[in-house]
């Protein structure tokens, strides 16, 4: 178990290293005008070549790529200047640097954005698990029934609907139309801190939660249905019935328990991915989460923010996979971690 953990953490660090290098290469290596684009964007349209060069020097954009990566790891050379601009201390010192655009600390930006993304991810995850599991189990108990066909139809309907269509549709119906008719239950978007006002937080998150959950739960309906149908055909389910157990106990204690494994796997991957930011949902509902920040950073060539979001997203996925593997061993006694 300890060896397993050590190996997986080392592997995770290796993945982070490769991903961060890939982002660096994409940003600078493939785009020779990258440094110029960054510098001219920062100092504006009226900028002289001299000013651009000054910016490039300040941000060390003229340094060769490996050196810039070195700075990203270990920080810029020199000492802190108490009066000047803050100095990047490098990711190995826990410092993700400063935005090229507004000199704000990337750490601060992420600290502000992550709770928003987390609220969105966890809230919608609870919703989609509940909807997906319930409809999947009901479908599996009575396959090919009217209920099963209805759930299948709904699942395919939402599954094939893009997030931006569903999100905008919900806004149109539940925000715009209701508000026009004098009922303002749902806001148009934005975020309220959970700690500031829990009720408002939930009110603001409700539509984004539902949007994300509807699109995702469709996959869980199908997954749960398939997995449950497989398990309910197993010999040990027949044994459970032969023992004289109630059908409820057969389905949940014996059936669902075994059907859960693939669902947990999928859930871990989905949740991990979402923790890196739900780009479209955050855009539609104007939630300044990680995905929102990433889009803004990409359109303004703000490498430090991009790298920061990528590091967080990668970490989330690596951790999610680690947790899945540990859960696997907890769920299935036949699995040994090594």
């Amino acid at each position: 178990m300890v060896r397993f953990l050590i190996r997986r953490v080392l592997l995770g660090i290796f993945v982070l290293w490769v991903v961060s290098m890939a982002v660096f290469y994409l940003f600078f290596g493939l785009n020779k005008s990258g440094p110029n684009a960054v510098a001219s964007r920062i100092c504006g349209k009226q900028c002289t070549t001299q000013q651009i060069n000054a910016v490039k020097t300040r941000l060390h954009l003229n340094a060769p790529l490996p050196k810039q990566y070195w700075y990203f790891l270990f920080g810029y050379p020199g000492k802190d200047d108490p009066n000047g601009l803050p100095r990047n201390h490098g990711i190995l010192h826990g410092d993700l640097g400063y935005s090229y655009v507004n000199q704000q600390s990337v750490n601060t930006t992420i600290k502000q954005s992550f709770p928003i993304t987390l609220s969105l991810a966890v809230g919608s995850a609870v919703l989609w698990l509940a909807m997906g599991l319930a409809s999947g189990i009901l479908s599996a108990i009575r396959p090919r029934s009217l209920l099963d066909r209805t759930f299948t139809f709904l699942a395919l309907f939402f599954y094939s609907m893009p997030t931006f269509v569903l999100g905008v549709l919900l806004l149109l119906l539940l925000f715009y139309q209701l508000t026009v008719h004098g009922v303002s239950w749902f806001p148009a978007g934005g975020y309220v801190n959970l700690t500031d006002n829990p009720a408002e937080w939930a009110r603001h998150m409700l539509l984004p939660w539902f949007t994300l959950a509807a699109v995702t739960s469709a996959a869980y309906t199908r997954l749960t249905r398939g997995s449950m149908l497989d398990v309910l055909g197993e010999d040990y389910i027949r044994t459970a019935r032969a023992k004289g157990l109630t059908e409820r106990r057969v389905v949940f204690r014996h059936g669902l328990r075994a059907a859960l494994t693939p669902i947990v796997t999928q859930f871990g991957i989905d949740l991990g991915t979402l923790l890196g930011g739900a780009i479209i949902t955050e855009q539609v509902f104007n939630l300044p989460g990680l995905g929102f920040q990433a889009v803004r950073a990409i359109t303004s060539n703000d490498l430090p923010i991009i790298i920061g979001v990528v590091v967080i997203a990668t970490t989330a996925i690596v951790l999610a996979n680690l947790v899945i593997d540990i859960l696997y061993a907890v769920l299935d006694p036949r699995v040994r971690l090594h």
Binding site: E234, D235, Y236, R238, T239, A240, R241, A242, K243, G244, L245, T246, E247, R249, H254, R257, A258, L331, D332, P333, R334
Partner: protein
């Protein structure tokens, strides 16, 4: 009165290819403390018949009656059946690895069985009983093995655990569906011995479903030979082995190797069992039967053989062995003629 009396059981399924008649008018009875062997090839309907009686087949059309202590199991609600299953009728299945839940400890599964029918049994008491049951079926160090998962047991131990589970509530009847098929030969004998010992100790009746005549010879008091969803021959063990009438029974026995056998080769029954969707007209065994003659295009009912009424066979052949040999010679003669005609045409 018989403990379980099944009359004219019919089970069929709708499949995309047509109606599959799995069981076609099966009748048998089991007396208290006795063992009924049901023997037949794969797909003869022996498992479907017993699982249907316990309400474990889904999507089947069922008719007939199955009287357990006078109450018809086929008319019972699921709720009523749940009280019978496990408590009154225990079941053992073929593959003990897939029949035990892989995620729960063996002890947990035993305790669940005990407490499912009597909530008043405390958890500790149920656990003690589970250990006792494992000891009873001959599992070494039962107090420790009770906390093992099924995959930590060997094949024979798993089947012993299944037996312990089926016997946990001291049921009147145990239905064992090919309990030894998935086991090594040496382990088979041990498992059968355990079942026989428990039967003697608790007076349990057993329905032993198998395709292995060796198992039948070992444990059965009475035997039903099944083919294509029907009983071909019924009788007590010695009748079936030594005074059988039906050519199918004879075929099964001839295909069996025996210790000290001086035959040069075995005689398997040629051909395959018929499709249960498109059954041949007449006797279902006709296409494979070495005795088949004109009369066999009509399906034979179960005739009483002899006078006592305890031996029945579904076959048109005369009971007299000498007359029977004549039928065979005639049939073979005709077949030879047909072959001769064929070659002359070519």
């Amino acid at each position: 009165m018989a403990l379980l009396e099944v009359n004219d059981l019919q089970v069929s399924f709708s499949t995309p290819d047509g109606v599959l008649k799995a069981v076609r008018g099966l009748s048998f009875s089991v007396d208290e403390g006795k063992t009924l062997g049901i023997v037949g090839e794969s797909g003869s309907g022996k498992s479907v018949a017993t699982q249907t009686i316990m309400g474990l087949t889904q999507g089947a059309r069922i008719s007939g009656e199955a009287l357990f202590e006078g109450h018809d199991l086929l008319q019972m609600s699921t709720h009523q059946l749940q009280h019978i299953r496990g408590a009154q009728v225990g079941m053992i299945f073929q593959d003990p690895l897939s029949s035990l839940h892989p995620y729960y400890r063996v002890g947990w599964q035993l305790i669940e069985m005990i407490r499912a029918h009597d909530k008043s049994v405390g958890k500790h008491k149920a656990r003690d009983r589970a250990v006792e049951l494992l000891r009873l079926v001959g599992i070494p160090q039962p107090d420790r093995r009770v906390d093992d998962f099924p995959h930590q047991f060997s094949g024979g131990m798993r089947q012993r655990a299944m037996i312990a589970m089926a016997m946990a509530l001291n049921p009147k009847l145990v239905i064992a569906d090919e309990p030894t098929t998935a086991l090594d030969v040496t382990v088979q004998a041990q498992v059968l011995a355990v079942m026989k010992r428990l039967q003697e100790e608790f007076g349990t009746a057993i329905i032993m479903i198998t395709h292995d005549l060796g198992v039948i010879a070992d444990v059965a008091d009475d035997v039903v030979v099944m083919y294509a969803g029907k009983a071909m021959e019924t009788g007590d063990r010695s009748t079936i082995f030594y005074r059988h009438h039906n050519p199918y029974t004879e075929g099964l026995l001839l295909s069996l190797p025996a210790y000290g056998d001086d035959r040069e080769r075995l005689h398997p029954i040629s051909g395959q069992p018929p499709s249960l969707i498109t059954l041949p007209a007449g006797c279902p065994f006709r296409p494979r039967c070495p005795y088949a003659f004109d009369k066999c295009v009509e399906e034979p009912p179960l005739f009483d053989i002899g006078r006592a009424g305890d031996h029945q066979s579904a076959c048109w052949l005369p009971t007299d062995m000498r007359k029977r040999e004549k039928v065979r010679r005639d049939t073979l003669g005709k077949a030879a003629e047909v072959v001769a005609v064929d070659t002359s045409e070519v």
